[in-house]
């Protein structure tokens, strides 16, 4: 048994020294391999971190949201509906929500208008998010102007800038009083944008949603879990799409690896021939090739994953954040919390190291079955 271990040690020794002897060729391969892993890992880490962050935020969404639709289009919901829904058994509370978007044509930015449930600003004053503050260079005490639904301008004094705790949510936020909101948006006093419900028993979500629909056929109840699932699916879909595109790069890499592996230089060929002539078996050479592949793969994998981690979590994914995030002039500068999903690490392994290893099986075997006879001549 110790004999077997010692033999492996000798072979590993020889393999490592042989890798170092051919630094040029091996570094090119290592560089490309690491790059591939780096890109894939960066994408997966980034989207997973975003998803986790979104998940955390979404955890606080209302359990059930009731919207009103007309011919499939989203409409304001009459406040009278709230009363009817409140009467359904199991519903603890119904709260109408007033919110919307405001497009600032001068700055080409979209803001989110919200009338908060607690501590709303006084009429005539608003709270703004840090993104808006920076964009319009407006600070507490300044006056800022918006154009209402009727085209007339309205001015508001900034009470405070919303704190940065969750930048994802608050950067483009405008908190406004109900009266000012209705005046700015034109929503009449007997309507709201949607209703949010608190339910006593989570197992009842579906039942209550059914009841609401039966009671008020032009409404659309949305359950929180569904939102979470949909977001998740979209995130997965997006990162999956990237992976599909990535496969093109992976394919190129695999072809490159194949080329490197089959293109044994005359010197390498001779070396293997000599080894076989002096007493190494085919299986010894196969072992050598195995350790070689392992050394290269492990190095590339560790390097690629570590670099990706640093790239995403310390350098804010500067390389491709613009592509993945979308477009806007207003973006939160958020630092993602470093969460790694082990499943993703395994997926990276399966998508890179496995194809590489499989590609090198046949070239390694060809190398290992070189006829020592040829070296005698």
């Amino acid at each position: 048994m110790s004999n077997v271990i010692e033999r492996q040690r000798h072979i590993i020794d020889f393999t490592l020294s042989s890798l170092l002897r051919r630094k040029g060729k091996n570094s090119a391969l290592l560089a490309v391999y690491t790059l591939i892993i780096f890109i894939l890992a960066s994408v997966l880490f980034f989207s997973h971190a975003l998803r986790s962050e979104a998940g955390l935020v979404l955890r606080d969404t209302p359990e059930i949201i009731v919207q009103r639709t007309m011919t499939g289009r989203y409409q304001p919901i009459p406040l009278a509906y709230a009363g009817k829904i409140g009467d359904i058994r199991g519903v603890i509370s119904v709260r109408p929500r007033l919110w919307g978007y405001y497009y600032d044509a001068n700055f080409l930015a979209n803001y989110t208008l919200v009338v908060p449930g607690e501590n709303p600003p006084e009429p005539g004053t608003i709270d703004i998010g840090s993104g808006i503050s920076k964009l319009r260079e407006a600070y507490p005490g300044d006056t800022i102007g918006f154009t209402g639904f009727d085209g007339k301008p309205r001015d508001y004094v900034i009470r405070k800038v919303v704190s940065d705790e969750s930048q994802l949510v608050s950067a483009d936020l405008i908190l406004i009083s109900e009266a000012d909101y209705r005046s700015l948006s034109g929503i009449p006093a007997n309507q709201a944008i949607d209703l949010v419900l608190k339910v006593r028993n989570p197992k009842e979500y579906t039942t209550i949603a059914e009841k609401i629909r039966r009671l008020l056929p032009d409404t659309r109840p949305i359950i929180r879990n569904e939102i979470l699932r949909t977001y998740d699916a979209v995130f997965s879909w997006r990162s999956g799409l990237v992976i599909v595109i990535f496969s093109a790069a992976a394919l190129a890499f695999v072809i490159f690896a194949w080329d490197k592996a089959t293109g044994l230089s005359a010197e390498e060929r001779k070396e293997i021939g000599i080894l076989k002539a002096i007493g190494w078996e085919t299986s010894d050479i196969l072992q050598m090739k195995f350790w070689e592949g392992l050394a290269v793969s492990l190095t590339a994998f560790l390097l690629g994953v570590i670099l990706a981690y640093c790239h995403v979590f310390f350098a804010s994914s500067f390389i491709f954040a613009p592509v993945l995030k979308g477009w806007s002039t207003l973006y939160p500068q958020f630092k993602l919390a470093p969460i790694i999903n082990f499943g993703h690490v395994a997926a990276i392994f399966f998508l890179t190291v496995v194809p590489y290893t499989i590609t090198t099986i046949i070239p390694s075997w060809r190398a290992a079955t070189i006829d020592p006879d040829a070296v005698m001549r």
């Binding site: 699932r229 699916a233 879909w237 992976i243 993703h344 395994a346 079955t369």
Partner: protein
């Protein structure tokens, strides 16, 4: 299909490795037809060289299949929240009818690959490749099963569609009444526990006898197969209950999670190892008569048996630790 990274990873890598196995089977057939150890012709030399390729591929396949088995379960677990009613991997696997068959085939192909490698190792000890035909016949049997597994896995993944909001209707059109299983079929717990300990002891005794006396290999192999089935059933029906400390949680997959200290991994690996090495050791007894193997075979069988015994002991120890040492009891 859900474009989840792990799913794509499993899909693509399974496909690649199955193609490799197929490729090597083509050579396997050629070997079966033209092999002639006594000939020194170039064809024969070429075939001998090919055997190295085939055994390398199968070895990689085995390693891959072990990891892919656990990865499959892990992935199923991590996407369970996309399906209404699915609580863990059990739910995900029942979303369509290809989930469990894929899992079963993964296990079977792993065992077959393990057996093949054991046969291969034995064959290499004989100077006239005595088991070559048996080996390659086994490969020809294995190849369609491996392809079937990859295909089923692919169909399973392609058929997965998350229950997400559709544009107009929201929640009410989620197929909540899909009939997703939350539990796996199980046997009555306490009797099963007794059966498990009994079976483990009998198999262990048979293995020990075989190790010491060198006889009874076939019996040991048969018992190993029985023990495999018994152990898996026991994990589902009773041992998992002790791990979760809940009388009705029969999930075989949750023990692989971090809350339970990943104890599922040593348990399942021990079960798989015991089955493969026990079956292999016993099967090899069939070839005791071959001259070229006479010297090497007993040693190989003893090593395999020892591995099987250790795995059995490990499995028994872990089960005993949970059933006897925790305060939870089913009585």
């Amino acid at each position: 299909m859900i474009l989840h990274p792990s799913i794509l990873a499993l899909f693509i890598s399974s496909l690649l490795i199955s193609l490799m196995v197929l490729y090597s089977t083509a050579y396997g057939i050629q070997i079966l037809r033209r092999w002639d150890i006594a000939s020194g012709s170039e064809l024969q030399l070429g075939l001998e060289r090919r055997t190295y390729l085939v055994s390398t591929i199968v070895a990689y396949f085995l390693a891959f299949q072990l990891v892919s088995l656990f990865m499959f379960i892990y992935t199923a677990d991590s996407i369970c929240h996309l399906f209404v009613g699915a609580m863990c991997a059990v739910g995900t696997l029942t979303v369509n009818q290809f989930g469990y068959p894929t899992l079963v085939l993964k296990i079977i192909t792993f065992l077959l690959a393990g057996l093949w490698l054991i046969l291969n190792h034995a064959d290499n000890q004989g100077f006239d490749y005595p088991l070559i035909r048996t080996k390659y016949r086994l490969l020809v049997v294995m190849a369609p099963i491996i392809l079937a597994e990859t295909t089923l896995q692919g169909i399973y993944f392609l058929g997965l569609r998350p229950d997400i909001i559709t544009s107009c209707c929201g929640s009410l059109f989620s197929p909540a009444s899909r009939g997703i299983a939350t539990e796996v079929i199980n046997a009555p717990p306490l009797p099963m526990l007794t059966v498990f300990y009994l079976s483990t002891s009998v198999t262990f005794a048979s293995g020990l006898w075989f190790y010491l006396r060198g006889r009874g290999g076939a019996l040991f192999a048969a018992l190993s197969v029985v023990q495999f089935v018994v152990a898996l059933t026991a994990v589902i029906s009773v041992i998992s209950l002790y791990v979760y400390q809940m009388p009705s949680h029969h999930c075989p997959f949750c023990i692989l999670q971090c809350e339970y200290y990943y104890v599922g991994y040593p348990i399942y690996i021990a079960i798989l190892t015991a089955a493969t090495t026990g079956m292999g050791a016993g099967w090899l007894s069939h070839y005791r008569g071959i001259a070229s193997l006479r010297e090497a075979l007993p040693g190989l069988q003893r090593n395999l048996t020892l591995t099987a015994l250790v795995s059995l002991a490990l499995m028994a120890a872990i089960s005993a630790a949970y059933t006897l040492l925790t305060s939870f009891t089913l009585r």
